[in-house]
Amino acid sequence: MSGAIAEGWREYRRSPVAVVALLVVLAIVALALLAPWIAPQDPYDQAGLDLFDARLPPGEVGSGGYVHWLGTDNAGRDLLSAILYGLRLSLMISVSAGTVALVLGTAIGLSAAYYGGWFGALAMRVVDLQLSLPAILLALVLVAMLGQGVPQLMAALVAAQYAYFARTAYGAASAERRKDYIEAALSTPLSGRRVLLRHLLPNTLPPLIVVVTVQIATAISLEATLSFLGLGLPITRPSLGLLISNGFQFLLSGRYWISVYPGITLMVTVLAINLVGDQLRQVLNPKHRR
């Protein structure tokens, strides 16, 4: 197993861009995890905010007596702190939504492939129907029905994403299901569940790893988009999307930094995760193996 990982890493290393992207992703995760310790200010502490500090340009010293390296937003938040906390929130939501969607989708896809019949057909029909609807639309409808807040947002993200995992798991597992060795394993006294977990699940892992990477990036985008549209999180706990949205109205008057710095953070995060996912696809695709 460790040999396979070492070989995978050798293959991964062939693209310097992907290596840089991986380092960026690791750095972003570290920044998000350490946010409470490295941020100069707690942006969620309403009492600590001073409206006199609102919309200070980058580099100014505010009433707190320290330099706002990236300026402040319209509520007087230190933008660097708000970005670090926003990043933390965005990553937390998208990673947990991605994990739930992964487990739920894989379970549906695997059982559809394993049991087949009318259950499998119906399950995949629903999944396909959902895949033909854009995620943004689905999330929009759910948020509209369920209202706003972190659980609602998570539910919308999971509902918009589980279908990708279900489709991927189903595709990989049903291709494997048709192979002789599975038939052979099923004809032995081994329990069906054992076959499912020991043989089908491992074969669906490589494509699922790729999908999970890409879907986390999509979830971050989607969450930011919903927040930007005013359908995401409450204003007191701004995620990256809401920070950008708050700054949008000041963009035309030249106070670019309120939108631009959170936006750059969002862009770099999403791009880096996608580049990592792209290279993982190359590494894990058996067709590309030399």
Binding site: L129, L133, P134, L140, A144, S221, I244, L252, L271, D278
Partner: protein, 321 residues
């Protein structure tokens, strides 16, 4: 062919029926239909009268029949906010969204197909690698952020184009007949096209690479066909199917993503309307929008499937048999 067509139409009708049940249940059984149909500002007497008028005291299946009948006759009730029939409200916003989406798809196709063919024809060239890197950028960076960057660059910094709004509507409610209309349309259309552009480049590149490696390209070269004709005849025809698929299927999702672009650029289309309706809890508009968008998806899927047969003779044969 006729049997095939009728079968597909029946399928589409079935999907619409299922969707109408889901929407009905979502809005009437889970939500409170009184909130949906009756203006919260109405007096209690009016409420009671309206409940009877809308048949909300009837059993659920009768209510569904009522709902379905209304939907089929195009009656979605009145908007709480605009106080006009929802149907005419949405239809009045339709031209703006359509011209935005179609222009975006055209930009994506006119740029994406040549760039994708080039990247697939010369995969090792430096220019191809740049194209592919740009395509990752195109479909991974959130649309609203790219829109913001476009405004920052072309409206705030260079002051070339307006930052939002729409030019005067001309014939058919479209703004594309005046130069002024185009100055407003250009940035939002470009913004909306970037995601599809990235997707299309990847799709066309993969298709081109596959065709270029095929035996019929080798045969064509052995006949002395010039390279432009190898590409023009064999590659274009063979990647036509995925392009039509994307153009068709993604057209629906372009309409959905127009929600974001319209909000960024303050473009008065259906997308902006639905966001406003959600924040204002204008539920009749939400219900109508949902049903119409699903209808649109079903129709597009049907058209794409029929176009398949036109482009791929092998499919045509099967459906004819």
């Amino acid at each position: 062919m006729l049997g095939f067509l009728l079968g597909r139409l029946a399928q589409a009708a079935l999907v619409m029926l299922v969707m109408s049940v889901l929407v009905f249940l979502g809005v009437y059984a889970i939500g409170n239909p009184i909130d949906v149909l009756i203006d919260p500002a109405a007096s209690p007497d009016m409420r009671a009268a309206l409940i009877r008028q809308y048949g909300l005291d009837l059993p659920l299946w009768q209510q569904y029949g009522h709902f379905l009948g209304n939907v089929l006759s195009g009656d979605f009730g009145n908007s709480f906010v605009f106080r006009i029939p929802v149907m005419s409200l949405i239809l009045s916003r339709l031209p703006a969204t359509l011209e935005l989406a179609v222009t975006a798809m055209l930009i994506a196709t006119l740029l994406g197909v040549p760039l994708g063919i080039w990247a697939g024809y010369r995969p090792e060239a430096r220019s191809s690698k740049v194209i592919m890197a740009a395509s990752v950028f195109g479909f991974s960076v959130p649309t609203f952020w790219v829109g913001l960057l476009l405004i920052l660059a072309f409206s705030v910094e260079f002051r070339w184009l307006p930052s939002g709004g729409r030019g005067p509507a001309g014939p058919l409610g479209l703004s594309i007949f005046s130069a002024d209309g185009w100055t407003y349309l250009l940035l939002p259309a470009l913004n909306l096209s970037l995601f599809k552009l990235g997707l299309l480049i990847r799709l066309v590149r993969a298709g081109t690479e596959e065709v270029m490696a095929s035996e019929h390209v080798r045969f064509a070269r052995a006949q002395g066909l010039p390279e432009w004709q190898v590409v023009g005849l064999h590659v274009l025809k063979n990647i036509g199917i995925p392009i039509v698929t994307v153009f068709g299927l993604e057209f629906g999702s372009t309409l959905a993503f127009a929600v974001v672009t319209e909000t960024v650029f303050n473009w008065p289309g259906m997308g902006k309307l639905i966001i406003e309706s959600i924040t204002a809890l204008d539920r009749p508009v939400m219900v109508a929008y949902l049903i119409l968008v699903v209808l649109l998806f079903v129709v597009i899927n049907l058209v794409v499937e029929l176009t398949y047969g036109f482009l791929d003779p092998r499919v045509r044969l099967k459906s004819g048999a």
